[in-house]
């Protein structure tokens, strides 16, 4: 059983190979106490170097987001529970922020580029909120992007030949100058989400 630090250091390898079960044992039990020594933080947008394609077929890079505060999260459209929940949470935050939300860039980056083409992403994000941009790319481009955000993801094959994806589930916050400003965790109390977003809006 590798230590957790080894798992984190091994994340790049997991990303590259999408090999089955490395970290499953550590992830399996929800009865583990919450971990406090967090994973490495995302780079500033100004330090990132990646290029993806939006659901409208437009190329997007981290430089395009400088000048506006940004909410960025990773997911995939075959995801039945976590991703709709995150998207619904974001819709709720946008509603609560009202006009202030117009300043935000909001992006969903897929961890499943095999299935999530720009067309698939377009159909999907339109079900939630038109202000959300869906981004995809080649598997290499996605791996490169995830590495910049320190995001981990992994393909989990199922018995029937299909697969699902494990992935980092929080929403990343960036200031208009591109500095990383925090994460809204998946199970975070909604009462904390709005103040966190307001901090990057000012």
């Amino acid at each position: 059983m590798p230590t957790r630090r080894q798992l984190i250091l091994g994340a790049a390898a997991v990303v590259a190979t999408a090999a089955g079960t490395l970290a499953l044992g550590a992830w399996r039990s929800r009865r583990n106490p919450p971990q406090t020594d967090a994973s490495p933080l995302p780079l500033a947008l100004t330090e990132m170097d990646w290029r993806l394609t939006s659901q409208r077929g437009v190329p997007v890079g981290p430089g395009d987001w400088i000048g506006r505060p940004a909410l960025v999260f990773f997911g995939f459209t075959w995801c039945p529970d976590v991703c709709p929940t995150t998207l619904i949470n974001i819709s709720d935050w946008l509603e609560e922020l009202g006009e202030d939300a117009e300043a935000l860039t909001i992006a969903l980056i897929t961890v499943d580029p095999e299935r999530d083409s720009p067309e698939v992403l377009a159909d999907y994000v339109s079900l939630f909120d038109a202000r959300i941009t869906g981004l995809t790319g080649t598997p290499d481009e996605i791996a490169r992007t995830a590495a910049a955000f320190r995001v981990r993801y992994e393909k989990m094959p199922r018995e029937d030949g299909d697969y699902t994806m494990n992935h980092t589930a929080g929403v990343f916050l960036f200031r208009p100058d591109g500095r990383f400003a925090g994460i809204i965790d998946f199970h975070e109390d909604p009462a904390f989400a709005i103040p966190k977003i307001r901090r990057i809006l000012t």
Binding site: L24, V82, P84, L127, F186
Partner: protein, 159 residues
């Protein structure tokens, strides 16, 4: 005046229809309610199943399996976040302790319906059989809410 009354009658009817309370089902000491799912884009993507189970008895029970004609591979899952990474491990059973209520709800326990025989369409419903260790089988009707629904389309029973 006549017009106003007519409009009022229509709006009352409409709100009564949209606020129809969620049905519930009994099996021994168990009460099941607030059963719902989300519409799916086509039949290839997995669907979810959520429900609330109350155990009014004095004996612990547990949900051990689900089955529906709508899915070839229905499973019990739990969404777990560890070190920020979300996974959905299969759970062999979901405990329903005596005197408590357990929710299959977004971000936690859920039924995962894979190998769909048809896409799930908003406004329709499908049968779901839940198999309990002590209380046996109970078949309920699951309403399909919108793709981006936060909860059931019926009025949840908050008691």
């Amino acid at each position: 005046m006549k017009y106003l009354l007519a409009a009022l009658a229509v709006s009352m009817t409409a709100s009564a229809a949209s606020a129809q309370s969620c049905p519930s089902w009994q099996s021994g000491d168990l009460t099941l309610t607030n059963a719902w799912s989300r519409a799916t884009i086509g039949p290839a993507r997995p669907a979810v199943f959520y429900v609330e189970i109350a155990n009014a008895g004095s004996v612990d029970d547990s949900l051990t399996a689900i089955s529906t004609p709508l899915a070839e591979m229905p499973m019990l899952h739990e969404t777990v976040v560890t070190d920020g990474v979300a996974t959905m491990p299969h759970v062999s059973d979901i405990p329903v302790p005596a005197g408590s209520t357990v929710s299959l709800a977004p971000g936690g326990f859920h039924g995962m319906l894979m190998g769909l025989t048809a896409a799930l369409a908003e406004g329709e419903s499908f049968p779901m059989t839940l198999i309990f260790e002590r209380s046996g089988e109970v078949t309920i009707d699951v309403g399909i809410a919108a793709y981006a629904a936060r909860g059931p389309a019926c009025q949840p029973d908050d008691s």
